[in-house]
Assembly symmetry: C2
Homo-oligomer: 345 residues x 2
Amino acid sequence: LKEFDIINHFFKRPSLSDSDSLAIDSDLKESVVKSIGDDCAILSVPDKHHLVLSMDTLVSGRHFPDDALPAQIATRAFCTCLSDLAAMGATPCWFTLGLTMPQADIKWIAAFSESLLGIAREYQCELIGGDTTQGPLTITLQVHGVVEQGKSLRRDQATVGDRVFVTGCLGDGAAALALINNEAANNTIEIDDKAYLEERFYCPQPQIQSGLKIVNHSRCGIDISDGLLADLQHIATASEVSLEIDVDKVPISMACKNLVGDTVALSCALSGGDDYQVAFTVPESHLLSLGKLIQDESIVATEIGRVTCAVERDNDYNVRCFRNGEPVMIDDVLVDDKGYQHFAS
Amino acid sequence: LKEFDIINHFFKRPSLSDSDSLAIDSDLKESVVKSIGDDCAILSVPDKHHLVLSMDTLVSGRHFPDDALPAQIATRAFCTCLSDLAAMGATPCWFTLGLTMPQADIKWIAAFSESLLGIAREYQCELIGGDTTQGPLTITLQVHGVVEQGKSLRRDQATVGDRVFVTGCLGDGAAALALINNEAANNTIEIDDKAYLEERFYCPQPQIQSGLKIVNHSRCGIDISDGLLADLQHIATASEVSLEIDVDKVPISMACKNLVGDTVALSCALSGGDDYQVAFTVPESHLLSLGKLIQDESIVATEIGRVTCAVERDNDYNVRCFRNGEPVMIDDVLVDDKGYQHFAS
């Protein structure tokens, strides 16, 4: 099985814009001028839009278990990468795939490509190129989206007085990893909770639709896949503000609490990472309109804190935790390492 | 050494557009809205231009020797990837890097990043994002360029009557590989030839400047890194034409001939691959103007054949070789495999 055969047989599909069953934004209908099959893909970015893009690499045995199924790997790779587009408030358009495999195992490739193209189709994101090579199993995805000029959610746009929100529930990612690695304390978890958590790990739902709504009420957002506190710190540093978080307001699923207990669950939610939700800040003037979206269940989001300007030392912008209005030491609520760090010592 | 430290210390640099010493196209001056440091890079594609992009993965021990120096790996990775932009006639703009390394070896990373950013700067191509992970050494690059709408060089645009040209010399890539792997017959190669060939392997020169000139005289081009005949076949298939090549006109360097002898050199030039030159077709109406560019040494290119419509069997578009006007069997001039194929059986 040669590289061209693999690409043509498993990865080359009709353009999504030719599909009758998908309602593609008219701006994007003709965005793929040339897909797989030339030296480069040729693409058209709609007028008055910016291109946004993000690359993620997943290594077998590090970012997913060696025995993960190809469908699980594909879905996780795509969803985690797409989460970066969600956090910019972007519309997904196209993606590229760097697929390195030890051998050309047809069954594996068939399952992988079917899942990958299936989940990508759900998000109307078209595979337009990449590279297939032989080597240790490694998957690199780059996702590309568009956002109206000046409307993307950036880390450096938080303003004093903004409220801090997060989408969905936090802690599920870390709890799911403990479950998958058989490291959870509670072995008697209910089947529903188990299924829910495994779904969070292998099929985290990128908050694309939320992001597209958030851009109308916020200028500042971040993907919190490295852990809430670690990623909020990026907002603090980039925006030169401090943030105060009420730890009791952080939304945590019952499944997470059931699996690891309340204390560890909070720790997972604050620093476990792997959640692929979006934290964003909302100015007071938009609180009402965002509140309506939440009330209508048009978006699932929870207010967890606010942006302050308090600077403790020169150039020291911080994320601080509170409980019942009193400051709590972060070390007192964390039972695990802070944020996921590759090459951590 | 944590991921953020690696990125901040070794890969994050001031924007190229802020450099006084580079004359960046004014359209592209403001193209990087947000570089490394957010969930996504934010980019601006100039009006009336298409975005073109290509991803390449290089695996240690497969695409470069395990003992290759970090500077060699960086340069080769960047140059081979950029060659795809050259073959579209595009202006390089930005690139992303997926870097997977067994460990965070500071000396290695310093040498790698310095070379990578150095060569990228030469081509005015800015690093705007990527991912750094731990695992077997694998490098994925994605390069992004822009080209005026409708002017990119495509495989499917060859027309009957066009002449076929190639830039530079062919065969050097394969000869250099034989040299590096100590598989060349001739051990007494001169130092100059050795240096020239090693340079071709580790620092192939992407034909960006040639590509930017070719777009004014051609609609059809291809990067011939998989081997001339294999890649011309892609033009034949995509454009639904046949091509005739005069094998004696194929440009081959003296260093290549000196190392492997005339017969093997021709074989390397026709099918060895790894040359990173551009093959393109030129309609008769543009032969004079292209000829002038060649005469002025504004571009190095050689006419090697023409596009015909002769179809031997239904839907069978072919590349055929000629010598002194007589057809020759490709098998008679090839002494090695056809084109580079991953996962070849």
